[in-house]
């Protein structure tokens, strides 16, 4: 049976549990004054039976789904002839993928060898057997859970508290998912990055000045397979982010100051949402804009001034990224400036300072830590931004700080290394995870510092 059917069966069993539980709670007190003798309402006993039937069986179903394919695959691969067993892992994977797609009916037998057809038949049988076993075990689990709950029903059973406790744990599990996600991110990138560092020494990666991973042509060439020096990527990332900041910080900060200190309420209520549209535009749209409109424009402009500009210049990508970040800087600085107490403003104005003197000599120095925190958050956004640079920045890693040349970034390299055909275990794909690890920790560090600075700043005025 396929999973949706099993799931439906489970829901039906659980609903049945609800009605049985409710009825049983009524029958156990039938002779003792009816529902009044119960601790909780009859429906709570019903919920309890339903949950006991549902949750353990659902857990079993999820585990089964997660491990079914890999276990079945291992069984079938284990029975393949020795000649296939000895193939390198990637070729064996390809061989087996054909088996699976035949078993699913996606390809016809003409493309496969007899051994593969036999394996596919076996795989199909196993899949069917596993489906039946899954349905049986899940149903059994649900029935046992439901019966256990039904047996426990008695007038003194605190069913409502019991049900609410289960709910509280479920709510807790949902919020704990955030921790699991972080853990999953760290473990998945760390695990693959460690495998990368076993092949390429960490010092070569961190301090190497050359990045050209595309050179691994033959598998036996691993040691000589290109070079994985991370420095040019990091410099390229910082260069593009710096260009973005040069656009976003002055425009964003001045807009925030103008809107919060000078503009009328009406002007502000119209302007702010319009500027925030910039934040809602998907990054792929910015990428398209950067690659097809801004980059040629920058190139022509540069050439008319006698400069040689690469067609995928860091300037174009950075400029567009800056536009994207303007609303981000604006709303962060707006919050920060509004948090400065009015007494400081009024004191300065009362002394005869003009508004701009008040802003420059009182508000900005007071808000500086918060603004710096906001800018750090914006930098972390710029470093992690992917689509704009994938579409508008270059692929070749050049160690330069000239914004008119093409540079590449960490995120661009992750995408190029992982999109398309890939064999796992090659340093090329593993390198992407090492880059991901660096990216995760750099942005994490920036965020932690920024959030800390902003919080300290807020506390100061609360």
């Amino acid at each position: 049976m396929d999973t949706p059917t099993v799931f439906l069966l489970l829901i039906v069993l659980s609903i049945a549990g609800f009605f049985l539980g409710r009825r049983r709670s009524r029958t156990v007190v039938a002779g003792e004054g009816g529902a009044r003798a119960l601790h909780s309402l009859p429906k709570h006993y019903g919920y309890m039976a339903a949950l006991w039937a549902l949750l353990p069986a659902l857990g079993l179903l999820l585990l089964w789904m997660l491990f079914e394919t890999s276990i079945l695959a291992n069984i079938v691969i284990g029975e393949l002839p020795a000649s296939v067993q000895q193939l390198p892992e990637s070729e064996r994977g390809l061989y087996f993928n054909q088996v699976v797609s035949y078993a699913r009916g996606a390809v016809d037998a003409s493309q496969l060898s007899d051994v593969q057809v036999a394996a596919a038949e076996h795989y199909r049988e196993l899949l069917a057997a596993s489906g039946k076993l899954k349905a049986l075990l899940v149903a059994l689990m649900a029935v046992i859970g439901g019966l256990l709950a039904l047996r426990r029903i008695a007038p003194a059973l605190r069913a409502r508290n019991h049900v609410e406790n289960i709910f509280k744990w479920m709510l807790f599990a949902c919020s704990f998912l955030a921790v699991l996600t972080t853990l999953g991110i760290v473990l998945s990138v760390l695990f693959e990055a460690i495998r990368f560092f076993q092949k390429i020494p960490a010092t070569d990666f961190l301090f190497g000045l050359e990045w050209s991973p595309q050179m691994a042509i033959r598998p036996d060439q691993v040691a000589a397979s290109g070079s994985f020096g991370f420095v040019p990527l990091f410099v390229g990332t910082l260069l593009i982010s710096a260009v973005a900041m040069v656009i976003a910080v002055p425009v964003g900060l001045m807009s925030a100051i103008y809107l919060s200190e000078y503009a009328t309420r009406r002007f502000r209520s119209v302007t702010k949402p319009v500027l925030e549209i910039l934040a809602g535009v998907p990054t792929v749209v910015y990428g398209f804009f950067a690659a097809l409109t801004v980059a040629p424009f920058v190139r022509e402009l540069g050439e008319s001034m006698g400069l040689s500009v690469a067609s995928e210049s860091a300037l174009a990508a950075g400029l567009v990224m800056g536009i994207m970040i303007i609303p981000f800087v604006m709303s962060l600085s707006d919050d920060i400036i509004n948090a400065v107490p009015d007494t400081m403003r009024e004191a300065s104005l009362g002394m005869g300072a003009t508004m701009n003197e008040t802003i420059r000599k009182v508000l900005l120095p007071a808000a500086l830590p918060g603004i710096v925190g906001g800018i750090l958050l914006a930098v972390s956004r710029a470093i992690g931004e992917t689509m704009i640079v994938v579409m508008a920045a270059g692929l070749s890693a050049k160690l330069t700080i000239n914004p008119l040349e093409a540079v590449t970034t960490i995120t661009v390299q992750i995408v190029t290394l992982l999109v398309g055909d890939q064999e796992f275990d090659s340093p090329k794909t593993l390198a992407a995870f090492a880059l991901g690890l660096v990216l995760f920790f750099v942005t994490l560090l920036l965020n932690v510092i920024a959030l800390y600075v902003v919080r300290k700043y807020r506390e100061q005025y609360e």
């Binding site: 709510l171 991110i185 749209v285 994938v390």
Partner: protein, 432 residues
Amino acid sequence: MNSTNEPRRSTSSAAIQASLKRRYARERRFQWYGRLAVLTGFVFLFILLADIVSKGYPAFTQQYIMVEVDFDKEQLGLAADATAEQIADADYLGLIKRSLREMFPEVTSRSEKKQLYRLVSMGAEYQLRDMVMDDPGLLGQTREIWLQAHSEAGSYLKGQVAADSDQADRKVKDQQVLWLDQLRAAGRTESRFNTTFFTAGDSREPEMAGIKVALYGSFFTLLVTFFIAFPIGVSAAVYLEEFAPRNRLTDLIEININNLAAVPSIVFGLLGLAVFINFFELPRSAPLVGGIVLSLMTLPTIIITSRAAIQSVSPSIREAALGVGASKLQTVFHHVLPVAMPGILTGSIIGMAQALGESAPLLMIGMVAFIMDAPTGITDPATVLPVQIYLWADSPERGFTEKTSAAIMVLMGFLIVMNALAIYLRKRFELK
């Protein structure tokens, strides 16, 4: 005393006057900087939107050329009692080529013929095939039929290519321009609303490419995202606002949520690739995995906004419920959540809009395949609208530039609708 102070005060007052003038000038300048900054933002937004609309709107029309087609059985190689299969396999391309040659009998050289055939779309033969399949009675008859124009010929008919430009700079050659002008003069060309764009999947030919598959993919992906992120996000927010004890574990959860909100989206893609595809072996390119990854990415947004909505529910509602004997859980689910729901929905819609526009993590899990058939479920290979935009943006043909912009317009249209809905809900919520 007065008399001795008089001159000094006047000089200092003059100095003050002068400095005041300077200070006011500076004040005015500063205000102008502010206005300039706001204006810069507006200008950027305007250029961005104008650029996309101006590039994209021609994609919503499609050019057709009327061709007289003789459904000759011999040319098609069909006998009188041809089966449906034979009809499907017949040589319709040859039929089109012959019809075109008959329209322009002066064309004889090989290269000219080749150019002539490039006037109509590669999809025209399928159009004829479908017509004959629907009505086999057409065989043996002669009909005037509107065939879709090739994207290059179409772009000339739309006026995007100037006829007097250098032939080497454009795809439409002078000879083709001549033919197209003749056809236009004879009233044999027509511009229609481009329905193909909404009913076709991806294609290598710009005039046959459409966003249907991408729309289906986006729909299935968002469906998965919503059904995972919404219940989990709201539950997490309820727990953190209403039940969580003040302890280290709660702090840890809160710090994690705040940090996840700022993790680059591509890192979620790496997580999806390593965990869901490599470890759990879920299908690649499927909306299922895309939806899971996007839901993890939007969870922080939904949790943070839902918490704010729950926080803003007045305590008197809670106290009233608790006072009449409701349990904590009943209070939350019967009273607090219904009041907070508009706020929660606002946050969720914003989160969904984010997920709809996201593409980087989906590249990681292989949703970049070339897919022509619409997915029928969450485990079929699919692509989503932003990724389709990315793929088309990479194509060199001019026809794809306009398709890309048009797809962007559709995507932005959806985003505007979603955000407008969110703003509407927020406004209603504020009135309460």
